[in-house]
Symmetry: C2
Amino acid sequence: MTNPTACILVIGNEVLSGRTQDANIRFLATGLGERGIPVREVRIIPDVAETIVATVNECRAKFDHVFTTGGIGPTHDDITSECVAAAFGVPWEPHPEAWARMERSYKPGEFNAARQRMATMPRGAKLIDNALSVAPGFTIGNVHVMAGVPRVMQSMFEWLAPQLAGGPPIVSAAVHAVGLAEGRIAEGLEAVQKRHPELDIGSYPFYRSSGNGVAIVAKGNDGAQAAAAIAEVTALMTELGASPIQGEPPA
Amino acid sequence: MTNPTACILVIGNEVLSGRTQDANIRFLATGLGERGIPVREVRIIPDVAETIVATVNECRAKFDHVFTTGGIGPTHDDITSECVAAAFGVPWEPHPEAWARMERSYKPGEFNAARQRMATMPRGAKLIDNALSVAPGFTIGNVHVMAGVPRVMQSMFEWLAPQLAGGPPIVSAAVHAVGLAEGRIAEGLEAVQKRHPELDIGSYPFYRSSGNGVAIVAKGNDGAQAAAAIAEVTALMTELGASPIQGEPPA
């Protein structure tokens, strides 16, 4: 069984301008990886309709799942929902259930035109609930449209995740050594990677006040194989005179 | 004069898997914006040769500058440099100056095959120096290839930035109000945006222990116009019974 793939689209000028530090990519990448749906690409794009439409269409054809964050609020720069409708070539229209829920939650007269936009969705959208806000996200086809505010997005993902058909979980094993340079372990490490072509073996230098060094991480579907590869790396580190420590270096 | 555009390519399985929180996008986006080179797209892609080659070629055709981070170390998963050579259709070969510098910096016998890869570059590459590591980045055409380790990347960017021909700086003005919902200001805000089509006006809800509210940011090349738009938003907030405060909300 192979793993379904995911792409994350972060939609918002505020991330591209540097105003906002993205806090959604790592959360989603970790959560999807645990469910066996590895993220294969992330794009951060501006609030520009033609860019959103073209990117949604390119990515939904290329990956099994697309997760968008941002652009589903009530203001003029929130255009994700209507762009997803345009990408699918379906009408953007009031969603009966979202509309009824939102109408109920506001005082008379406060469910205004701006808020009604948050209950307007591509025809055929299925709602994504969340525990924090009355405005839902939605799924259409293989595109999951979520909020940009991290705690709302996280609540939406917790609701959505159990419904996604995952693949075998991606598991990893790691070892690190202080005082060991990447340039010394590189040759032996490449040989380990060649012996385990099904694994992704990554080499990550780290810089800590407690010392610099390198961490090696092996990822794949087979935990025993990842552990075997890391055992080989551990032996290699020892051979090079380093003192390998199992796992990732402390933060 | 229009602004040249930029695209950032973050190359690395470790960001896609959620292992690593990216720390380069916001730094580059801010620094480029200050120099009048707004970032229009970011892509995070894996250490897969065909993906890197295709993405570099797509983005260098589409944007005035492409900045890559990651994948220029000595290990088997560091393939950015050879992929950029393939994208440009030029040989990947020892760079005389980089080679000489690196050879000098290692003890006899320690400038091994893995380290020599860091001095191997696309033909015609111009070096990007940095204050922290002997291994340089490089520029070829409109593609700037930098390290993934944040402090090394930052040092490379500080060296590179003064050499980039920028556009008029992107300036911004902002106002925020506690206790004001986006859904109440949306309609009036859209009218402000329509009166200032040259500006990007963004609406960003915030959630702080000191109170929730909304921040409005106007960005563009004309500081007086951004200030005028924010003055209109300030009046709108007051009209809605809120107490606007100039600038962004405190962190």
